[in-house]
Amino acid sequence: MNATSAVETSVPVTPGPATTAARLIYRHTLPIRIMHWINVIALTLMLLSGLQIFNAHPYLYWGNRSDQGTEWLALAAQEDAAGNLVGTTRIGQHQINTTGVLGVSKGSDGTPVARGFPSWLTVPSAGWLAMGRRWHFFFAWVFVLNGLCYIGYSFARKHLQRDMWPTRADWRGIGRSIIDHIRFKHPHGAEALRYNILQRLAYLTVIFLFGIGIVLMGLAMSPRMDAVLSPLVEAVGGRQSARSIHFIIAWAFVAFVVIHLFEVLVSGVFNQLRGMITGYYKIGPEPAAPIEAKPAPVTPEVTPGPLAGEPTPIAEDPRHE
């Protein structure tokens, strides 16, 4: 990938000529791509090892204490009259039978065992708290250091300020953007390179609220850190509240990833994957109707394309990482 130099150019930005042919745009720089995939690995392993840790006590509480009977979430196992294990999930006062998945699921020998989340959702697959903690804390460092690099890099390269911080025009277009998303309508021209308002809000929420929040709530569970973080712990209600919030944010990350993958799927899975693997993203011909939003600036240099037979890639201002 030798196009980085092209991305670094600071040629005066001029609106590009209306293009009709499809073209490849260098969209995601190498550091962003590497950090993205490190994050995929770290988040996946933290979720799976986190569920292993959760299974050691599959109950959640609010406050500082874990008094029996005050759980707001409980993945429990009971024996029915016939002696079979029944798995239940209780949220507040609502309890449902979740045998086979939550509360009770098949152990390694195929017989039902009491465990919060099933073995196919935990690392390691067997109940093994000590090892789950090793995975979790190792990848916690990967996640935190990678996240700090990402924020630092994106800030230095103005990726955060330009591509994610919503503009006034973005806010005005929020209704339109919601409707477009509901109709699975995705722009194909230069507009596809720009993060829309919902993307901007989603990314900012995930990075700053979820990312920082889940790390702080993880630290708030550490008794050593609580010697200095006690005001934060008490502000969220107590250590068990921090554990609950940590769990909720973990699933909020899952919800984000589900939506993210869905959007990748409906907006062109091959093109999006190529964008995040090679950096090159193809945009289609401009629609006949003039676009209201300003077209993406294009620098005149042409770099050799890495993909023979593809439309000639055009070096792009690094606004769209």
Partner: protein, 251 residues
Amino acid sequence: MSDRRSFLRMAGMGAVGMLLAGCDRISQSGLGTRVLGSAEGLNRRVQALLSPSSAMAKEYSEADISPVFHPNGTTMPDTPAYQALMANQFRDYKLQVDGLVSRPAMLSIADLKALDDRTQITRHDCVEGWSAIGKWRGTVLSAVLDHVGVSPQAAFVVFHCFDEMDVDTPYYESVDIREARHPQTLLAFELNDQPLPVPNGAPLRLRLGRQLGYKQAKYISRIELVSSFKEIGDGKGGYWEDQGYEWYAGI
């Protein structure tokens, strides 16, 4: 369509299965566990920087005390030595303090009280995830260490316990001198204004303000000052440490 869907489902499950199987293999391998375990040293050093060794755990009020302080692990040591002491309400109990000290001692609960007597309400956090708050009365470990005189070579305080986790595998734990000297590190003999109940570690247990529950040895029979814990148990510094848990349990 349903063919494709089931294919995708199989492929997805195959990918997840391969990921989990790979993780399981790493979990079983020596190198894998060592690499993953390297985070422990980082946690210990970084947490010592962010939360200095003098930092105090929060102390709670009477209203915060758990109605039931859940006992975990051993709740009734069955060794003859312990059973004999229990039969006599621990009146004959004496804590043995030896190792790298200048004045080895045998201390009764009354002796401990004479050395130092304080009460604190702190939170107990189990490695499993639950928490309980209790009011502990005890003797600060630092006072005991001063009483026996710690040799300069001593680096760790080892707690030997009455309860056996397996045949000839007594529970034990260890902390470094700095943690042992922390003002909230107590040898507790009372819980919630009552003599320490047997399930909670009678007659004497360790209380650390800033580490997880498994570090807080119950049923202490002997305290030994050592320069290294390599020769004790499987050499990892504690019963649960020998089972793969971290020696540093600050997180």
